[in-house]
């Protein structure tokens, strides 16, 4: 094992803060101690690899959401000067996307109470309360169904609006990307249909409900990313567009 008394010297040498006398002492030791030399070289490589970690790019949707929140809070004003090519449409889409994000957020908020209630309902079934009258069960089923329907309606409205914007502008995308997006949307549609059937069979199943909402959320995200991609293509921002395509 590495020698404990040289550990600090190894770190300080990597940091470049070691004094000349201790450096000489360390170098002499490293010549003789294989374990310490291995440790020193490994830590030096880790230090160098950390310093070389590349900058990450935030997902394109992050900016759309920030812009949406700023609009919602009334903290920005529309620019009145002549827009660059596609700028007018871009701003319009931003507004649409922002509004839709709010709609989706509202849908998620609607889900939460249902999810929060669900475990209590499950616990109740395993306790003496399980003997509660059938009317209570019926009420729970009706309540769960209503919550699911309301949340689904919010999602579906958001999806319909996003699809409208995406379809109207999809010609900006190259055919291969467009086909891939359509294929993925088809897969998600199938998942949504299957999960919807599962929820219908058992409206109080938390797992079925969460899986359905996750599928709906994924569709919203895919459509938002598609609109972001169209925006970036319009702006000629190939790097951001490539990032979105790679993410997909």
């Amino acid at each position: 094992m590495a020698c404990e008394r040289y550990l600090n010297s190894i770190h300080e040498s990597i940091d470049g803060t070691i004094g000349s006398i201790r450096r000489a002492e360390l170098e002499m030791h490293l010549d003789q101690c294989e374990d310490c030399r291995a440790l020193y070289e490994d830590l030096k490589r880790i230090h160098a690899a950390a310093a070389d970690l590349p900058r990450l790019e935030a997902p394109a949707r992050a900016w759309l959401q920030i812009a949406g929140r700023l609009r919602q809070e009334g903290r920005i004003h529309e620019e009145t000067k002549a827009p660059a090519i596609g700028r007018r449409q871009y701003v319009g889409w931003l507004a649409a996307a922002a509004a839709l994000i709010l709609a989706v957020a509202a849908a998620v908020m609607l889900i939460k109470p249902a999810s929060d209630r669900a475990p209590q309902s499950q616990t109740a079934q395993s306790t003496p309360a399980a003997t509660a009258p059938a009317a209570t069960d019926q009420k729970a089923i009706e309540s769960a169904t209503t919550a699911v329907d309301t949340a689904q309606n919010q999602f579906e409205k958001a999806i319909a609006d996003l699809e409208k914007v995406a379809k109207a502008n999809q010609q900006v995308l190259d055919p291969a990307t467009s086909t891939t997006i359509d294929k993925n949307l088809g897969i998600l549609d199938q998942a949504i249909a299957e999960n919807r059937a599962a929820v219908k069979t058992d409206p109080t199943s938390v797992a079925a409900r969460e899986t359905l909402f996750e599928a709906l959320r994924q569709k919203v995200t895919l459509l938002q990313d598609t609109i972001s991609l169209i925006n970036e293509m319009r702006k000629g921002n190939n790097a951001a567009a490539a990032q979105l395509v790679n993410k997909s």
Binding site: M1, I46, L53, A58, I76
Partner: protein, 192 residues
């Protein structure tokens, strides 16, 4: 934060103040420019400090919304990038502390036996350390030593600066970075 890597300002101070003024007037385009200039650096910092890209994305939004609100107080005494970096670091750390308070894991959480094992044994494979392996290992570090390591080894801050940012003693910063390096060695050996 003299030790920061990559704090090169693409714009002159005059242009920067002009950009800030346009943001204050509510020009979305100006704020988007500011966002494009700085979001990558701040997102990278958030991902690595939090060890979770989804949390980092949410926090990035909060950072820029907060920056938009606080631009009124920006006087140009420091570069805009530095001002944003400080704002972001404070918000990230608040988030880390709040999460740690919930989970009780803000301490470095590394026992001596683990570190001893990390300092011993066979060396890393000769091939280059893959970025993805390093990012994954970073995410596995305990909160306290991950923050110190990211600020020091990834972001390039000096220990004195790390100690000021984290509100800890300089010696503690050193100790946490050293522990993080040893733990990373252990984790990277496992990933080979």
């Amino acid at each position: 934060m003299s030790g920061q890597r990559g704090v090169t300002m693409a714009t002159s101070k005059e242009t920067e103040l002009d950009l800030v003024e346009r943001c204050r007037r509510g020009e979305l385009g100006a704020f988007e420019t500011l966002y494009r200039q700085h979001s990558g650096r701040l997102f990278s910092l958030a991902v690595r400090m939090l060890g979770n890209p989804a949390d980092a994305e949410d926090l990035l939004q909060e950072i820029f919304l907060s920056a938009h609100r606080k631009l009124e107080s920006f006087r140009g005494e420091s570069a805009l990038g530095t001002w944003l970096y400080r704002l972001a670091t404070n918000q990230i750390l608040d988030h880390v502390r709040s999460r740690a308070a919930r989970t009780g894991q803000m301490t470095d959480g590394l026992d001596d036996a683990t570190l001893l094992a990390d300092a011993s044994g066979h060396r890393l494979a000769d091939r280059a350390i893959a970025r993805v392996d390093l990012e994954r290992a970073l995410a596995e570090l305990p909160e306290g030593c991950r923050a110190a390591f990211v600020l020091h080894d990834v972001e390039g801050l000096e220990h004195k600066e790390v100690s000021e940012v984290l509100g800890i003693a300089e010696g503690t910063s050193k100790s946490q970075v050293h522990k993080a390096r040893l733990r990373l060695r252990g984790l990277l050996r496992r990933s080979v």
